[in-house]
Symmetry: C2
Subunit: 211 residues, 2 copies
């Protein structure tokens, strides 16, 4: 295995049997994925074209087919790649040893920053509901499972109250997705830190009347 | 104004200048909207056709153009209609005089029941992001505004703690949308009442460790 096998999103992104074998190949694949994010994000799945992707990437059409079989296959690869990138951005924002509701706030802040930097994120993931339903479902099932695992760990550590962590994880994920849509993609008039702090208060104490 | 002007979703659904003037016309319009929900829900916006809609509705093609200008216009009317129907279903599930977090649980239970009965709901609203972005945004902005107004009222009544109700409303809406997706549309293995009860606990008390 190459030493960068820790980044499966790059090597695993090509169509089966078309994985790049060289650093230069991986760089081209990466450029094609970045170009695909811009092309699908701006034009949508139906209007997007392979020639639009290669033009943005500055590669020859032949390079596209070296790594991908079709527009569908690069779209699927892109959804998986973005799903992994979101997870990585949230994980990177969590301080070592962080737990409980504080960790959820950190992950949300990381996600909000990612959504602001990659405004095409929602359009691409959301369009997967129609263009690649399996990838769409895998994205949300995987994200909810990760959140539920964090909750289980926090409950075990005593930093979160016990409860139905599957339902809670879907609730928290929905919260994050819509806060990212409203305050990351649609408008930047609110500070991400303020949004994350309010979400943390909701997750920690709820909205019930005090004392 | 006709005496049923309290139902703007029916009369207001036709293309401008094409509002039905008779009870029979309103019934035909309603049949076309129900047929459109099935056609767009099953086939998606791109594959859906006007002839598919009139076939499902059992009406002549001419009837379609009596009320709508195009496939785009009936899709937009349908999104508005479903948005209003969701709001009505949630409102109808709220007991008279209910307030605070309890009211949110009742509204969520009503929404979950609606999502189970109308599994095409998500596909249609979600596809509006691409086929009618203004209607998509109006749906979520309107829903969040309604939730924030309920929160403001509850805070004033002392049944909810004070806080940033705009951020809270977007968080609660996202929670509802994803609980409806997972436990309404994708799978029915969980009881809606249990899901709503867990959401109520989260909203009331949060997930922080107990005292």
């Amino acid at each position: 295995m190459p030493k960068d096998s820790a980044l499966p999103s790059r090597n695993g992104a090509a169509s089966p049997g078309k994985e790049p074998r060289t650093a230069r190949g991986r760089e081209t694949l990466r450029r094609l994925l970045d170009a695909a994010a811009a092309e699908f994000g701006e034009r949508g799945f139906h209007e997007a074209s392979i020639s639009g992707i290669t033009r943005r990437a500055g590669t020859a059409l032949g390079s596209f087919y070296t790594y991908f079989d079709s527009k569908d296959s690069i779209f699927s690869a892109l959804v998986t790649h973005m799903s992994q990138s979101v997870a990585a951005a949230a994980a990177a924002a969590v301080a070592p040893g962080s737990t409980g509701v504080r960790r959820e706030r950190e992950a949300l802040a990381g996600f909000l920053a990612f959504a602001r930097q990659h405004k095409e994120l929602y359009r691409i993931i959301d369009e997967a509901e129609f263009a690649d339903p399996d990838a769409y479902r895998a994205h949300y099932m995987g994200t909810a499972k990760r959140i539920a695992a964090r909750f289980d760990e926090s409950v075990a550590a005593g930093t979160m109250s016990p409860g139905d962590n599957e339902v809670r994880a879907w609730a928290a994920m929905g919260m994050n997705v819509f806060l990212g849509l409203r305050f990351g993609v649609w408008g930047e008039e609110r500070e991400p830190d303020d949004v994350a702090a309010e979400a943390e208060r909701l997750l920690r104490d709820g909205l019930g009347p005090r004392g």
